[in-house]
Symmetry: C2
Subunit: 341 residues, 2 copies
DNA sequence: TTGTACGCGTTATCAA
DNA sequence: TTGATAACGCGTACAA
């Protein structure tokens, strides 16, 4: 009942070997006779023995926990991405420790707490930790991977979507479809991803417009939420300069817009307005929206993030890496694929 | 650079006290002079000292990690619920270690791995672990809280939505609205929640029907997904016994149904068919669906689950608890609130 | 209130 | 291949 957990010493006695031999038996890289190993396993099984990770961590100075720092999980993309990270971390034999830093004035303090866990690494996907928090981790020997946070860091590895490229893809699609009056929508509060996407969108147009035929303006909505998209629709659709193409830096803002549009204008009118979202969240393919979007390959990015971490653990002193993963246009019904030659 | 992390011993030397005094300084319950504590804190700050959780866990025989076992995170409700659990666990000064057991043939083995972490507890919200896995945890002194998994356990604490009550609420709502030809839809693969909801729905009707005026049948769709709802619409809407009220055991199945219905029948026809979902996921309030639903108060359930765990840690030997948290009807446009006197 | 001494369960080192 | 022994960094009796 209240008997304490079996230790390697208990197993050793039952198996008639030394405690060190038990330890070695559970290390695949240790050379040990198959006979004793089996004897040890049998004894361990009988006692319900499990390695004590705390003790192991003390020696190795490294737990196999990976900190996943996130925020704003009400954003569907972030949520979907977190899940992929969780699965990916698990697949590498590591364990995800999740940390939500939404509504935290004291992010830095909170993050410092993670140092206590001798983490194998930290993957930061959201939140706005100060520059030096990353350095704090590095100083304590904990590798940091930044995902969609910034373009440059002296110490942390970086994995990003090619956000500018994503914006450019949307712009290109509109041009191919002959749209001439464009709008790009992002949340007022600047996030790295959204700002870069909008920038990529506008830059592409600027460098591909030879005359004044195409106009593009940036519109800011309140937040990066469905509701914000819903609210901004009126402003966009009733302007004297009604656009024929709208690029949203996040899918669910686009969904809000589409729902509002159904009430503001006729389906026929709506058909002439192309809409492109960004991320390709699950919702985008629902029939209610069927949203053409620039897909952020989240599985690939999650894999890359974890792989980057493993690499860093293997080569702790190599130079910080940086990769930008390309986006991909998914045509659905809000902007039909143009007939190509 | 490669200097090792500061330990309590280092802090002790710098502060001119013993190592145990440092240890005590970081324990709020320890009585210690404020002067020395401040001196210790100052020294700790200077050295960037952080408690080593591994060492702490060894002594206390308990980490402050809580295992969150889940599966099928593509289901929006599960995903939303996981996030609330994460936040709730964090708010209690504990850390969530998430484990996804989707597509795992070896759930039991995987779960056994958790024992290595000296977890403070495990909250199981999904997956179909065998009965004895719970017992394995208990045997190792790790409390288990089951959420929406079953109605009975000898060893684990249980927190459930009142699933039968949720079904009954939906049935009652249809009756109040004068609906007479009802259908309840759940996924073919029986999950505890869905089965109980359907059961509650049908039982309520059975015990409140005094004549043959009301008919109710159960329809099974392939899985618990949006697509399944989309696919099942045809079968429901083209039956010779077309219903005037449909209860879906999960919101997003209802959303799939609604999207399909828009293409199968006119908006006018659809108006005469009441639709109720269950869970109240974020999607349900989007204008594209505006789904009347039986809300599963997920924040409350998450709070209850964590609180139950804390209670168990406080009183390890008390009898297993069981609570059913009531659901609540949220009227939206797919079934209008009847005018009451 | 503070210090001394010990043990938690594992891995790593070294010798056999 | 195996065994003895020494850390790892903390919490906690016990003594002062």
């Amino acid at each position: 009942m209240t008997k304490r957990n079996a230790t390697s010493a208990d197993v050793a006695i039952l198996a008639g070997v030394s405690q060190s031999t038990v330890s070695r038996s559970f290390d695949p890289d240790s050379r040990i006779s198959e006979a004793t190993r089996q004897r040890v396993f049998a004894a361990a099984e009988k006692l319900g023995y499990q390695i004590n990770k705390a003790a192991q961590t003390m020696i190795k100075k490294r737990s196999d926990l990976v900190g996943l720092v996130t925020a704003g999980l009400e954003d569907p993309f972030r949520s979907e991405f977190l899940h992929k990270l969780i699965v990916e971390v698990q697949n590498c034999g590591l364990r995800p420790m999740v940390m939500d830093v939404s509504n935290q004035q004291t992010i830095d303090e909170e993050l410092h707490g993670l140092i206590q866990y001798q983490l194998s690494g930290v993957i930061i996907t959201s939140g706005t930790p100060s520059e030096n928090i990353g350095k704090a981790f590095i100083r304590h020997g904990i590798p940091v991977v930044l995902v969609n946070r910034t373009e440059h860091s002296d110490e942390a590895d970086i994995v990003n979507l090619d956000n500018e490229g994503a914006g450019a893809i949307a712009a290109e699609a509109f041009m191919k479809s002959g749209k001439t009056n464009l709008v790009v929508v992002r949340a007022k509060k600047p996030s790295f991803s959204s700002v870069m996407r909008a920038k990529g969108f506008l830059n592409y147009l600027a460098s591909h417009i030879n005359n004044d035929e195409i106009q593009a303006t940036e519109v800011l909505c309140e937040t990066g939420s469905y509701d914000s998209g819903y609210q901004i629709a009126d402003k966009i659709l009733t302007s004297q300069h009604k656009p024929d193409g709208v690029f949203f830096c996040m899918d669910h803002i686009a969904c809000g817009f589409l729902d509002a549009a159904k009430q503001l204008i006729t389906a026929k009118e709506m058909q002439s307005i192309g809409v492109i979202g960004c991320d390709d969240i699950a919702l985008a393919r629902f029939k209610a929206y069927d949203l053409t979007t620039v897909k952020q390959p989240s599985t690939e990015i999650a894999k890359a993030a974890v792989q980057t971490l493993l690499n860093r653990l293997k080569y702790p002193t190599s130079a910080p890496s940086k990769q930008a993963i390309p986006a991909e246009l998914i045509y659905r019904s809000t902007l039909a694929k143009p007939i190509t030659d």
